[in-house]
Amino acid sequence: MRRILDFVGAGVLFGLKVTAAAFQMPFELDQIWRHIGELGARSLGLVASCGLALGVVMTLHTRSTLIMFGATGMSPKLQSLGFFVEIGPLVAALLLAGRVGASIGAVLADMRATEQIDALEALSIDSFKLLVVPRVLACVLVLPLLTTFMDCCGIFGGYLSENVLSHISPSLYIARAFANVDWSNFVPPTLKTTIFGFIIGTISCFFGYTTNEGAEGVGRAATNSVVVSSLLVILADVILVKIIFLIFPGSAI
């Protein structure tokens, strides 16, 4: 029990340190930009293919139910709301945790094991500011963009599926998908992914940066980064959905 509390305490302190360091000069904009490019490029294909596949599958599943109520016309709206409100943010976050979280954890743990982090400190360079803060901020900034991209791919996948089944035109599908869909259905759920990004970046960096188990720690840091950040993203989602409903009651479907 004490080990768990120690771990939670260390993780929270690490997160607070990241937050404080993010507002201190220098802002490492070139590093943040570099990591946004890397994280985005690494995840884009995965997010696109998953979004497309989920879009197709979701339409196939919902359509059979909607037929029973004679409400197949609702399928596009169900698709867009499903992606905007929950599927897009959560799945994009879990994909980022799997694809990028492991990579961040392993890279930093390897740098620790090969004394590169010590070398930075020995050269009077703040390794935390250089290695951790830009990675976390990149996750925070890139995840809403990936989520929006996933939403688009999901809706496109839904259209493809619907088009095969009912030959619906793109304009009618778009019109139905966005009919009565409010900004509050899109903006708060997408913005909540900044918090998911912070969790993924912080947890992955925490495991990588603080390991002291040599080469063995590299694999462990990668695994722990994925498992813990995925778990915390799901837990945070439960809390954030409740908060969004409180602030934007209209966004509740």
């Binding site: 740098m111 090969t114 004394e115 590169q116 010590d118 070398a119 930075l120 400190e121 020995a122 050269l123 009077s124 360079i125």
Partner: protein, 245 residues
């Protein structure tokens, strides 16, 4: 501490968990002196180097770098003292995502106001000094072990430090490359009067570079003296380490 001393450790102890790595270790190194830390594996030699540059903090004791007690320093003050110290890590510890050139340029770009042209000149000079001018655009993974050590040495010297801490500079290298690394260290000491603290298992190297030997045994300072003084030391481990037997 004496103003002649470049480094002084006073009753330094350090443990990791229940493992007491160093216990009440005291010694000093004069300005321009070269001291070799000898001892069996796991006796705290590398930890001592990392304590001197404050990568680890001692559990008790004081560590003086010139007139600064480094264990009490934080932030910019600590950075200021660290810039007077160069550290050559055992593996070279080059940043593997950037080129050899950028490994040297990184600290200059971040910590000085030098122009790009000045930085280029410093990097070029440092790489020429270690005979790596042709490797400037290579990635660390493309370098051999000896080249990596030389690049690490060039990076450690980029601020022209008054103290150079060296962790097993020739381990795993062939005798010729090892001798070249030793030449570079000796040159640094003679031409720049750099204080050297070298962790080594190589007696040939220790005898060639070291003015004095500090022998660590089970976390304690077992002996301190010139190679001649330690040859007939009463402690058998010291005698065996100094004789190589």
């Amino acid at each position: 501490m004496s103003s002649d001393n470049s480094i002084a450790l006073h009753h330094v102890s350090k443990c990791f968990g229940h493992n007491q790595v160093l216990q009440d270790v005291s010694f000093s190194v004069a300005r321009g002196e070269a001291i070799c830390l000898l001892g069996r594996s796991g006796t705290g030699k590398s930890v001592t180097l990392k304590l001197i540059i404050s990568l680890f903090r001692p559990d008790s004791g004081q560590i003086w770098i010139g007139k600064d007690e480094i264990t009490q320093l934080e932030g910019p003050e600590l950075s200021g003292v660290r810039r007077r110290i160069g550290f050559l890590f055992q593996s070279g510890a080059l940043f593997d995502s950037i080129t050899v050139h950028d490994n040297l340029a990184l600290p200059l770009r971040r910590l000085t106001n030098k122009s790009n042209q000045e930085i280029e000149e410093i990097v070029e000079r440092a790489l020429r000094q270690v005979d790596l001018a042709e490797a400037t655009k290579k990635m660390p993974v493309e370098l051999s072990g000896g080249m990596r050590k030389r690049a690490g040495l060039a990076r450690a010297l980029v601020f022209e430090p008054e103290i150079l801490l060296v962790d097993e500079p020739t381990s795993g290298l062939d005798p010729i490359t090892a001798s070249e690394i030793d030449d570079l260290l000796l040159d640094q000491r003679v031409t720049k009067r750099t204080t050297l603290v070298i962790v080594t298992h190589d007696l040939r190297e220790a005898n060639r570079i070291g003015d004095r030997f500090a022998v660590l045994d089970r976390g304690q300072l077992a002996a301190l003296g010139t190679p001649r003084e330690l040859r007939n030391h009463q402690n058998e481990t010291v005698r065996r380490l100094v004789h190589g037997g």
